[in-house]
Amino acid sequence: MDVAEYRKRTEAALEAARVERAERVDEATPAEALGRLLDGATPVGERLAALQIVGRAAAEDPTVIDRLVDVLADTAALPELREGAVEVLQGLAFLVTVFAPYRPRYHEVLRAMVDDPNPILRRRALAILARYKDEYAQRRLTEGLEHPTKALLPAAKAIQYLGYDIHAEYFPLLRRIVEKPPTVSAKREAIRLLAADPSSKTLLSRVLNDKSEPSRVRQMSALALQSLAPTSFERAARQISLDDTEDDRLRATTIGALARYGTPEPVSRRSTFSRRISEIQTTASSPQLRRASKSYVDRRSG
């Protein structure tokens, strides 16, 4: 490719974008956008567009962050506007040093949003606070799991958010959820977090080996056990991999994991297991199973 020509083409694209921007006469200045954003009489579409302009203006005037927090705090404002404000504020949160002075009030407003009637806003608030290991959010999430009438979110989401700061005191609760799950999704999430709990090895093995469990639950158990207790996982994985009555996706997962992390086996002493995997590579009807088996054969012979 001719580089001089490429440069000309790139510059022409910039010029075209410049012309297009100049023709967009309705684009507000940051000050106008702030006025539109805060004016409840402005149509919601214009206020949402104004949000973006105000957010970008933080590059030159960080105080607009406080105005965006005002929008978020306004419980009378339309939920979509407040959702938009969270998104813009999170984008600005990446300017960590610029955002720092505004974060305490932002988190205060988010804590108030935990009880908002709008489920999306509740979820957003708890997700953000949980990442910052906010004790209030963690307490409310735990309460909701222990007493479902106090739940702020579906159980699976609450478990997931607790996982941003997983510690041992949650493990008994998570084990109870695995034993008596409110939903399959909640069970999967609890298993995911128990990958960090050495006391859950037996429980995870049992779930993995229980053919009556949903395939996705067993798959999560496989991954969790692999992380927690590789030797136990390998033992179970070798059986599952060769069992034609097992779910193909689960078998592909176990074969793929054994290919990558299983105990090395000298090529000169190929076991029955390796031979069977070679057969699966050619005979399995599932493309995923064939791919995983091929990966095993390639890695083990390579």
Partner: protein, 426 residues
């Protein structure tokens, strides 16, 4: 094969091309930036005269292609004539990948050295034109090599990948965001990761996710995964990243607010981004504007880890996203000629002390500097900057300054060893 007849009879003459100082097994990996090479005769005719040779691409239809020069000044022709002393004294030249002709596989580029005006081959030297590419354009094999190396680096949460999320959290975030250090710090982080991946598989270059374009194959179960109803990212069974573990736990949490077949909305496109601060084209305003949008907007097109700075680097997609941020900076530098670190239009503030530590040109970059006091975070994960077999830059304790002239445009010794597929050298 060329033959030489002398008093001892007839024997073969060979040439030897050494790229980037050699040995070629580890150094014959180039991008668009010209790199030094040496060509010499082996077993030349004793007491004979110089032999005129031509260097050229072996295959010109597929694979990586190269061009040549005797110095770093364009143009770079696709053949080069040289005269090689018979006594084996090496002749210096420069080799670069031909823009837009990158390799797909290791050694798919080859340079043939022939006796000038003939097809008598003196040497065939295999190499790879290895550049950072749009993730959408990767072949299945390229994608697999990248994912495989990434999974090895992660090693179910026990590998050295754990240093990367650790450096991008808590007080470490102050070193990397909101001020001038944003772009150089992330450039160093990406290069660190890329060198770690290359120590596992030298053919890997970081791909980038163009967040202003649709990328359906990136957001597929075979590449970066697809979320289930609970935002847990699922991969094809047996996928290398299926056993991904970080200190955030098992797996990856991510859900996009756009469909895989579409580009995200509310995000500045490339042309608009490159034209921010359009009249003066100064680094500081440009960085401040682009850090919010597209960078911040790209992060918030997702829920899950990417949505917040404290958790973002636990998601492998973070590195593809930031590779695109870095590409935009590289392309802006190329378009506006912003490689000279002594110019405030290329970076400001110059010197040190004007901004908090970590954001001034002469400051060293944490955590690679190992500093844990004087305004730095209390720990420095990861150790010194990894070395590269192809360049000594940026050294074990890099400064921000070392990240500016990344191609060695002004100073060849500054070359960091990477290029983007759409940012030429010239």
């Amino acid at each position: 094969m060329a033959w030489c007849r002398d008093l001892q009879g007839e024997h073969a003459i060979h040439a030897q091309l050494t790229i980037n100082g050699g040995p070629n097994a580890t150094t014959a990996y180039i991008g668009w930036t010209p790199v030094p090479a040496q060509l010499r005769l082996v077993d030349g005719p004793p007491g004979g005269g110089a032999i005129d040779v031509t260097l050229r691409n072996v295959v010109t239809q597929t694979g990586g292609q190269v061009c040549f020069s005797t110095d770093r000044t364009p143009p770079f022709p696709t053949t080069l004539d040289l005269s090689l002393p018979a006594d084996g004294t090496p002749v210096n030249l420069m080799i670069a990948g031909q823009f837009d002709k990158a390799s797909r596989a290791d050694g798919d580029a080859a340079i043939e050295t022939v006796v000038a005006g003939t097809n008598q081959q003196l040497a065939v030297t295999r190499l790879m034109v290895c550049v950072r590419k749009d993730a959408m354009t990767l072949t299945n094999a390229e994608r697999y090599r990248f994912l495989d190396a990434f999974a090895t680096l992660n090693d179910r949460g026990m590998g050295t990948f754990s240093d990367f999320p650790s450096m991008h959290r808590d007080l470490g975030l102050d070193q990397a965001h909101g001020l001038s250090g944003f772009l150089p710090w992330h450039r160093a982080m990406l290069l660190d990761l890329e060198r770690e991946l290359q120590s596992i598989d030298r053919t890997v270059a970081l791909p980038y996710w163009r967040f202003d374009a649709a990328a359906p194959s990136v957001f597929s179960a075979g590449f970066m995964g697809t979320p289930d109803a609970n935002d847990f990212v699922r991969f094809e069974p047996g996928h290398p990243l299926e056993s991904w573990v970080t200190d955030m736990g098992l797996g990856i949490l991510r859900s996009a607010n756009f469909l895989p077949a579409n580009a995200p909305t509310n995000i500045r496109n490339e042309s608009v981004t490159l034209d921010l601060d359009e009249t003066a084209n100064r680094y500081s305003p440009w960085r401040a504007l682009m850090e919010i949008d597209p960078h911040g907007h790209a992060h918030t097109r997702f829920t899950g880890y990417l949505f917040d700075p404290a958790t973002a680097a636990a998601d492998p997609l973070f590195f593809l996203l930031h590779c695109n941020v870095d590409r935009l900076w590289a392309k802006w530098q190329w378009l506006k000629d912003r490689f000279d670190p002594t110019q405030p239009t290329s970076f400001s503030p110059l010197g040190s002390g004007a901004l908090p530590i970590g954001h001034n040109l002469d400051d060293t970059l944490w955590p690679w500097n190992g500093e844990t006091d004087n305004g730095r975070p209390p720990t420095a994960p990861g150790g010194a900057f990894p070395v590269s077999p192809i360049t000594a830059a940026p050294g074990a304790r890099p400064t921000l300054k070392a990240m500016i002239d990344y191609r060695g445009t002004l100073n060849a010794a500054s070359w960091l060893g990477f290029d983007y597929d759409d940012v030429p050298f010239q």
